[in-house]
Subunit: 242 residues, 2 copies
């Protein structure tokens, strides 16, 4: 099995992904939020690239919820922001949610070249990694691409730490695993800060941006590991539980 990591979704192409499974990570906060919404009983999440598109869905069906952010904050006229803590069971159960975020939803679309696309986050990494390995074995799939969403145009540390956790789980589960340089670097960074990722993230860009906006509770939430049981897949333009 070969594991490749990409620090930004703009780096991936059809050529790279066509024979792979992909894991898309936008740890703070899009993929964490989507996974938590699905885990709380949302039926389906429809990621869209822009606000107009989201509003069109609402016009077509008033029962959908609109969620997402621009600049980390709730979009005017939307029902929900991009904080996982807003996606409580009483709000999302049985609902369809249309989401648009700066990087996460775009990363999912770009990853669509892959044979199957899964959502990654610390909150359900182990379940997701184990499911992917089981399916890859059945499917004779030899390549897994970890696609970090990145922030704006840049390398984003929290996504890389989460990618490193996936590499760690794959290394533990598989006897033979080939990793590219960024998977190797992510793994080593993750292991260095495994017990307290805040210790390094407190110096990082996006983590601090969210902290300044008052989302400390989200940071705590998104960095906790494996308290969610469901695995989420992006397929036919929507995110659902597998």
């Amino acid at each position: 099995m070969k594991v490749m990591t990409f620090s930004h979704y703009k780096e991936v192409t059809e050529e790279i992904l066509k024979d792979s499974y992909a894991i898309v990570i936008d740890l703070l906060r899009a993929t964490s939020t989507m996974i938590w919404a699905i885990s709380n009983g949302a039926n389906v999440i429809i990621p869209v690239e822009n606000i107009l598109e989201a509003k069109l869905f609402k016009k077509l069906n008033e029962s959908v919820l609109l969620g997402g952010e621009r600049g980390g904050l709730k979009i005017e006229g939307f029902d929900l922001d991009n904080s996982p803590l807003s996606y409580k069971k009483e709000v999302v159960f049985g609902k369809a949610i249309v989401m648009t975020t700066t990087n996460g939803t775009r990363a999912l679309k770009k990853a669509s070249f892959a044979k199957r696309i899964f959502l990654g986050s610390f909150i359900n990494a182990k379940k997701t990694a184990e499911y992917i390995l089981k399916e890859a074995l059945k499917d004779d799939m030899q390549k897994i691409a970890i696609v970090c969403a990145g922030t704006e145009k840049k390398f984003t540390l929290e996504d890389i730490l989460c990618a490193g956790y996936f590499a760690d789980i794959f290394k533990t589960c598989l006897e033979k695993i080939e990793v590219d340089d960024l998977s190797l670097a992510s793994y080593e960074l993750y292991k260095k800060f495994e017990n307290d990722p805040h210790e390094i993230l407190k110096y990082s860009y996006h983590y601090n941006h969210l902290k300044k906006l008052g989302f400390e509770a989200d940071l705590e939430f998104c960095l906790k590991k494996d308290f969610v049981d469901c695995v989420c897949e992006y397929k036919n333009l929507v995110v659902e539980k597998v």
Copy 2:
């Protein structure tokens, strides 16, 4: 002072670099080799992008030496490969050398948007970093961009470790330094493997590629720190000692 790191030269643009000093790193082996050649008395190095261009220089002036690689190996008709160990004093002293390599020479050209461009390697990192800080102070320059050449299209671990060493020196010399996420990650990775970078690089792509080609001695050479005193600058299309 703000330090930004880029994992591949293709990521940098005029917009990013125009108010910066740049350090270009192609540790294995282009920048290490150029620095060593200059340190051994080569007058000037002219980096060019392709083989034809290099051969044209030789036609114009037979005394120039042609150096470089494709696929890690010497180019047919060239005087020298890309191994620093080939650039001995008795070969290069007083000479002009035209070089073309897969990533390093292209990275230098791409970095030309910066106000000044320096060559980086472990072999002269401390001298280079200290010189840059001194000049930046005089010049009121607030941004340093570390531009890793990368291998093919990807993140390359040895360049990142060297970038981390530069970040380490900058942190030591300056009271206040702002780092982006990749500088922070590079610094932490470097510190983890500071005493033996081979320990992680033995799992990395390009290091192993060169090992298979028989260049073990180059790997040892390029990973030794600070035994070279000169600082090399790329200016008006050539590399010279500052």
